[in-house]
Amino acid sequence: MASINQALLDLKRLDQLAAGGTVLHRLDPRAKVLATLVFIVSVVSFGRYELSALIPFLFFPAFLIALGQLPAGYLVAKAALVCPLAVAVGMFNPFFDRSVLMQLGPLDITGGWISFASIVLRTALTVGAALTLTALTGFPAICRALERLGMPRAFAMQLLFLYRYLFVLSEEVGRASRARELRSFGRNGDGLKSYASLLGHLLLRTWQRAERMHMAMLARGFSGVLPGREGSRFGAPEFAFLFFWSALCVTLRLNNAPQLLGALVTGQLP
């Protein structure tokens, strides 16, 4: 099935971006995780009719993408594709919220349209931040950062195991799924019956793989912990990074920068 292989390629591409060597890639992952969290909380804490004050927050992903030398077009396209629920739910806002909030000449702009636009912008910001974090840090590093920030070890290990076998199993499932697709003609053969036995076979194969892995791990002296790279230090650059972005997010949250700028430009300071 084209879509599974496509999704896998997409996954690999995002995963490989984390291998970059820029200043941002070398920062301790904890700083990046914390800064992203501050950013997301600041963005979602705005009222639902806020639009202009959200715009300056685009600076955070834009800055990271530029300095981290990430492919902007790819990340933007990826961010544009997601969050069907947010857009689907947001789409109803213009129907239910028809109070006029703003007038542009003869055009009445209702609260629903403004909050819909706000939802779309929030989606872009939060999704963009999450993707940028992954692209700059990489999944294993994020897991280890979260573990050092207090995530239970069993869950961290689960995440690392999952990551290790994600690609192998996705390829296997992609092959099996393509084989089924090639053998089914029209609507024949892609129903529940073949689907269930396909999944069942894959499940059993996966289970056997886990048993083999367990034996191999025991043979190599598995002690219950996956060895990782020596943890990096949370030094001055990390503090500076975290402090700068937190301060910027809080400032932008408290002050409507575009409005101030507009007031400054039009000379109508309050």
Binding site: L85, V89, L162, L203
Partner: protein, 350 residues
């Protein structure tokens, strides 16, 4: 059914993250106590399997649409609830980071809706109680499909509650509910059918895998009455408390609208799509005033708006309460009937 950051307020997102994080901590601690080192690679690989399997689709006969597995209940049946919860949570985390499904704040909600509810709540309290040690064909079908329908309905209900409590979307509670629950009834039925089919496949091919999970020492059960009482209490608190909260939400809106628009009735509130939907709702809603109507109270003069808001809030809370009790009653009686029915059918086999 992934929840999204953009629809959440930090309070709601943070609160549900706290619940999900508590679940992760508790399950991790339990898993460590069990000290079964075969479990770690198994969970990891099954997580990868689930991630990949969610991408395969199959055609649903007669509709032309396609469905896929969600997997919370299936993994709970295969691995037991604790391990299944952690596995599904880890899959959701991969999806949040690589595909940005939802987002990082909404990840807490997604773990709650898609992992905690099916694996810890529905599996523990429903599936495990009713499946028995050697279920017959009918019993297996009935219990599994019902369990996955319940899980989906609860998950969809949680999405609605989270969205409405956050107050970013202006979709009214009842209308969102009407939108979500029927769709997820269908999704739940499909999920149940897939789960049953895969479980019966595994049962035929390697029955010992299922024996492990079912035969694992069960958590000590409280009596049935206390479980029912617990559910009733949770439902009442959620329905009463949250619908009160939801109807309080438009307060900020009232102020801003009153400030910007002045005390004028918004044009077209009773025309066009809004009017059509309102008329539709008039016909379909036999529990009136279930939803809060922001456009009505928003334009009331200040002195009466507080009173109107309060009356509306208590009305909403009351109808939310009544609706939940009714739903709960229906679900419980259906479960009871099903249990009676399946016991009667299975008895000769056993």
């Amino acid at each position: 059914m992934h929840m999204a950051d953009a629809l959440l307020s930090p309070t709601v997102g943070g609160a549900i993250w706290a619940v999900s994080a508590g679940g992760i901590a508790w399950c991790s601690a339990r898993l460590r106590r069990e000290q079964d080192d075969r479990q770690a690679p198994l969970m990891g690989v099954l997580g990868a399997f689930l991630f990949a399997a969610q991408m395969i689709n199959f055609t649903i006969p007669g509709t032309g649409s396609s469905g896929h597995l969600t997997g919370g209940l299936l993994l709970a049946i295969l691995l037991g609830p604790t391990a299944a919860f952690l596995t599904v949570a880890s899959v959701l985390m991969v999806q949040a980071l690589f595909f940005a499904d939802g987002g990082l704040l909404a990840l807490g909600c997604n773990i709650f809706n898609l992992a905690l509810i099916p694996a810890l709540v529905v599996f523990q309290l429903f599936y495990r109680r009713f499946i028995g040690s050697a279920p017959g064909r009918f019993r297996q079908w009935a219990v599994t499909v019902t369990a996955s329908v319940i899980a989906m309905q609860l998950g969809a209900f949680a999405v609605v509650l989270e969205t409405v409590a956050s107050g970013v979307s202006s979709l009214p509670f009842s209308r969102f509910l009407h939108l979500m629950q029927p769709i997820h009834l269908a999704i739940g039925l499909v999920e149940g059918a897939v789960t049953v089919a895969v479980v019966s496949f595994v049962r035929k091919a390697r029955p010992e895998l299922l024996q492990q999970a079912i035969g694992a020492p069960a958590v000590a059960y409280r009596s049935r009455a206390s479980i029912c009482a617990f559910f009733l209490a949770v439902a009442v608190i959620t329905a009463g408390g949250l619908s009160w909260f939801a109807s309080e939400q438009p307060d900020g809106l009232e102020w801003s609208v009153a400030k910007v628009a002045g005390p004028a009735e918004p044009e077209g509130a009773q025309q066009g799509v809004h009017g059509l939907l309102a008329a539709l709702q008039e016909k379909s809603a036999w529990l009136r005033d279930y939803s809060f109507d922001s456009s009505r109270s928003a334009v009331d003069p200040p002195r009466s708006s507080a009173a109107a808001g309060e009356a509306g809030a208590s009305g909403t809370a009351l109808s939310g309460l009544v609706g939940t009790m009714l739903t709960l009653f229906l679900v419980l009686s259906a479960g009871w009937l099903l249990k009676k029915g399946s016991r009667a059918t299975v008895a000769p086999e056993a």
